[in-house]
Amino acid sequence: MIRDIYAYRCRKCGRLHYPFRMVCKECRQNDFFDFDLVPLPKTGKLLTFTKVYNLPAEFEVPTLGLGIVELENGLRITGQLEVDDPRIGMAVRGEVKPVRKSAYDTFYGMVFRAG
């Protein structure tokens, strides 16, 4: 099953936002929920990244890759990174997968690989 993460397009001016906000940052003219959902593209280039060593207890891994990706439509997203040798500007492709589990919930988010 292919899952998506959504951007929010202002019905008044067309500006795209991610993540969701109640009022458009561009025109600030919205009434309640004046946005259309648009799936975020899955490909883009890596803007910056890190490898984290001290993780909250729920993460049962020694290290975790994180990055900010500039998607092909210009929006940016923060996500997990599964790339051995990340470089700024490299092409990446995302997939929506479980990124965090708590006792009650599984959270889905974007995980990027080279491509």
Partner: protein
């Protein structure tokens, strides 16, 4: 608006404190009352971020105001992430400047060592965007790391510059009896020697252990008073002359220019404008170096140095205690410690101590204007304060 003065100050040692949180808030408040020589206050603000989550206590200000036997004075908690301290000072400033109150006691306190370091980091990470950041495991160190990588790429900053901030601030902390870290370090020990990778491992690449502040307990208090009350207090006259605050996007990736900290720039400009001063008038500053990178970038964004040149000023020694613009003589968050709710108040405590000429071995030479930058979130809520020493 009425002029607002600092009547008195107090602080605890920043370390692991085995006292209830309410006492960590009340103790520096008592010291400040003693410093000012007054017994009555109109209002208490307590700055704190984590009492409910970390210490299982809510409505902290109600507990503290009664513990100090200041009832029926008004009391409220200000929770504004790591900028809680200066936000509470802003609230106190507004109350005195407006004429609503004549004496406002502001106490910042945090007790984070009640939980382990990973839980403390996770607690602070709850300020990130819940769906766009937190779920991925994003913490403040990871934000700082991703930001640092961009800064290195764009401005030629290196790990050596970061280490220089750590060394400067931990050495300054050696001169501060209230500081958490009394551990002298060298570039050799944390970067160049064969043991450096063991001494100073990566926390979030490219940031290492010594690039991050310690997790501390502690409290600090400042009493703000009107002109009339200030005249009755026999202490050097320090005016809180400028208050600025600005916010930015919650999700860090939404910022147009990812190497800018616009809220810092705007909060500082607002603070200077109110004070009728400019960045070049500042003689001593306490900046929010929760990570070494932040001292360098804030020193640019508040206007001390051109964008991208903060690390050059650092290299030249300009930000040392005996430099042309000493930054973080207290040791900063890096050396003094970072009990989050207390930090903004503790920065003000240091600046008032410096402007009074009471900073002992770490005293900056004759400062008249002091400045603080209290950085909340990852730069999404920033408060800057400008203090001026007046005659007497």
């Amino acid at each position: 608006m009425r002029d607002v003065y600092v009547g008195g100050i107090g602080i605890t040692t920043f370390t692991r404190l085995e006292y209830p949180l309410s006492e960590i808030a009340a103790y520096p408040a008592m010291m400040a009352l003693k410093d000012a020589g007054i017994r009555d206050v109109d209002h208490l603000y307590v700055a704190n971020m984590g009492s409910a989550r970390v210490n299982h206590q809510t409505a902290l200000a109600s507990a503290v105001v009664d513990s100090l036997s200041l009832t029926p004075a008004g009391a409220a908690v200000i929770e504004n992430g790591p900028a809680s301290g200066a936000s509470a000072l802003k609230a106190g400033f507004a109350a005195v400047a407006s004429g609503l109150h004549d004496v406002v006691l502001v106490s910042g306190a945090e007790r984070m060592r009640e939980v382990n370091n990973l839980e403390a980091t996770d607690f602070v990470a709850t300020l990130t965007h819940p769906l766009a950041e937190y779920i991925y495991g994003v913490t403040l160190p990871s934000h700082a790391a991703m930001f640092t990588r961009l800064y290195m790429e764009k401005y030629g900053l290196t790990e050596r510059h970061l280490a220089m901030v750590a060394v400067k601030n931990q050495n300054n902390a050696m001169l501060n009896e209230f500081a958490h870290l009394h551990q002298p370090i060298t570039i050799e020990g944390i970067l160049d020697s064969p043991e450096a990778m063991t001494n100073n491992p990566y926390v979030a690449e490219p940031l290492r252990f010594f690039d991050a502040c310690p997790v501390s307990d502690g409290g600090a208090a400042v009493i703000l008073v009107s002109d009339d009350v200030a005249k009755t207090i026999d202490r050097p006259l320090i005016r809180l002359a400028g208050v600025g605050q600005a916010t930015d996007t919650h999700a860090v990736h939404e910022r147009e220019e990812p190497t800018d900290l616009l809220a810092v720039r705007r909060a500082a400009a607002q603070s200077f404008e109110m004070a009728g001063l400019r960045p070049e008038d500042v003689d001593v500053a306490e900046l929010h170096d929760a990570f070494t990178i932040l001292e360098i970038v804030e020193s640019e964004e508040v206007g001390f140095f051109p964008k991208g040149e903060g690390h050059v000023a650092l290299e030249k020694g300009e930000t040392a205690i005996d430099g042309s613009l000493p930054i973080n003589p207290s040791g900063g968050l890096k050396g003094k410690g970072h009990p989050v709710g207390a930090t903004g108040v503790a920065q003000a405590h240091e600046i008032v101590t410096q402007l009074r000429g009471e900073a002992g071995d770490r005293q900056v030479d004759g400062p008249q204007v002091g400045f603080t930058c209290n950085f909340g979130g990852f730069g999404n809520n920033v408060v800057c304060l400008t203090f001026v020493r007046e005659g007497r």
